[in-house]
């Protein structure tokens, strides 16, 4: 139960500071999760880093929910190594214009994580020093992790559907 009170503390402190901007707070499997908005995300991250001691950026990734108004969720995982506490922050952004400010000014390590997210989901991190594709070829043309793109290479000719029962 100790963790829950800790999470409560963080929640209270965040609400004091950011008010309405911290929404949809939940606690799946003991991990404090909340949603915020892209105009305050950098403030939230730096506040968490500087004031609340979440000094370690575990990961940045994205999730695609097609058909919604804000179809791409950028997910940050932070870690407070001293209190042994993790936190998850989500920002929902629009699929047509997926932009969000970069976190590279808060953590240098965010650089490649954001490049990967850009490569796979097409999220444009504004102010990123070097936003290029990282895993795929430059001429791929699509952001393959978006749900509308198939897993298999659509240009394959040697794989005939009849052999696979489709």
């Amino acid at each position: 139960m100790e963790e829950t009170t800790l999470n409560n503390d963080i929640h209270v402190k965040l609400t004091e500071k950011f008010g309405e901007k911290v929404t949809a707070v939940s606690e799946p499997y003991g991990l404090l999760t909340f949603v915020t908005y892209k105009d305050v995300i950098i403030n939230v991250l730096s506040h968490l880093k500087e004031e609340l001691k979440f000094n370690f950026l575990t990961d940045i990734t994205a999730v695609h929910y097609p058909g919604k108004e804000h179809g791409i969720a950028v997910v940050y995982h932070l870690h407070n190594m001293v209190e042994k506490q993790r936190i998850r922050i989500k920002v929902f952004i629009s699929e047509q214009n997926p932009t969000i400010p970069t976190a590279t000014n808060v953590w240098k390590g965010a650089n490649w994580m954001e490049r990967e997210t850009y490569d796979l989901f097409g999220v444009k991190f504004e102010g990123h020093p070097d936003l290029r594709r990282i895993l795929n070829m430059d001429d791929l043309g699509v952001h393959p992790m978006l749900k509308q793109y198939p897993l298999e290479d659509p240009n394959r000719v040697d794989k005939k559907d009849e052999f696979f029962g489709r």
Binding site: P28, F56, D59, H77, K84, G109, I134, L135, M137, D138
Partner: protein, 404 residues
Amino acid sequence: MNHNHPVFTDNDPQSELVTLNLGPTHPATHGVFQNVLQLDGERIVSGVSTIGYIHRAFEKIAEHRPFYQITPLTDRLNYCSSPINNMGWHMTVEKLLNIQMPKRVDYLRVIIMELSRIADHIICNTIIGQDTGATTTFLYLFQFREHIYEIFEEVCGARLTTNIGRIGGFERDFNDIAFAKIDKFLKEFPKALKEFENLLSRNRIFIDRTAGVAEVTKETALEYSWTGPLLRATGVDYDVRVSDPYSSYQDFDFEVPVGTSGDIYDRYLVRNEEMWQSVRIIEQAIVKLKTEPKGIFHADVPEFYLPPKQEVYNNMEALIYHFKIVMGEIDAPKAEVYHAVEGGNGELGFYLINDGGRTPYRLHFRRPSFINYQMFAPMSEGMLLSDAIINMSSMNIIAGELDA
């Protein structure tokens, strides 16, 4: 070759700098990553890393595979220590489904995970030896990887990409031969590791090549999200096994070695000490197993644990569960879960979003090699080329994990 970025286009003959293309298939890089370096003599002025040469789209595949078919993918992440990845994945799903594992299964898992940690560190440390000119260490200690493989073969039938275990436990119990082999390993490996340390740890050439090279401060390491032996070498005692214990690691008595300066020598020492600690953990696990009831090798969760084949053919109940699991008619909670394990290279995280379907809605791997490696190019600035090569091997970058 239009896939490469023309990183340095300055071909001015008056320029003192030389552009060197290191990789993607360079014998010294032990993997496929490209670094375009600009050299002033032998000193690196700047560098740009290009990765993605074996990008295999794990995360996209995972969205098309049921949970139990994702284990083979995790095998191929960090293939030097596949069982840690396998079990990390199994534990993620178990966390999602709220399955409590029996203690005996936890201890068996700990044995396998620590064996693979040893296997992983053997690769890294012997390769550092190899790159500083000591081929003996590689040929000698690599033998013990074979012994670890033999244990894995006894448990699951495969050597390298093990696909070991299942969601809910193990596929079968460890047999007596497996335990005998583990005992033999525990008897022989410390001697060999001692000899290995005698060869390198106080070797003047080795120390000259590694001590004080590529020093990293705690602050920089944390800034770049380093984890694992690399972070511990800088002096931060962060180990997922301790800070967020999984698989009953809290029952074991072991130390987390830390370095002071974060240089290559410290990383080598940290990895070596971790191998000693792993041996200690395995010894404790063997003792603990003796007090646990025999024959338990999976949790009693028939709706998630695939039943043995002979029962599927002979037993109605097992057949039903088999059908339900394979056809994906099991209700899994709609939830998201993050689970981290201490992999060979650091915190290996699984971020799983389940929408109640047969396959994950989204599965993201937090891959330590990927995150650790981004510091290589900035770190190399001002370093000698030959030092950068050992620096790269001491970071133990596994291409499969790097590119996913």
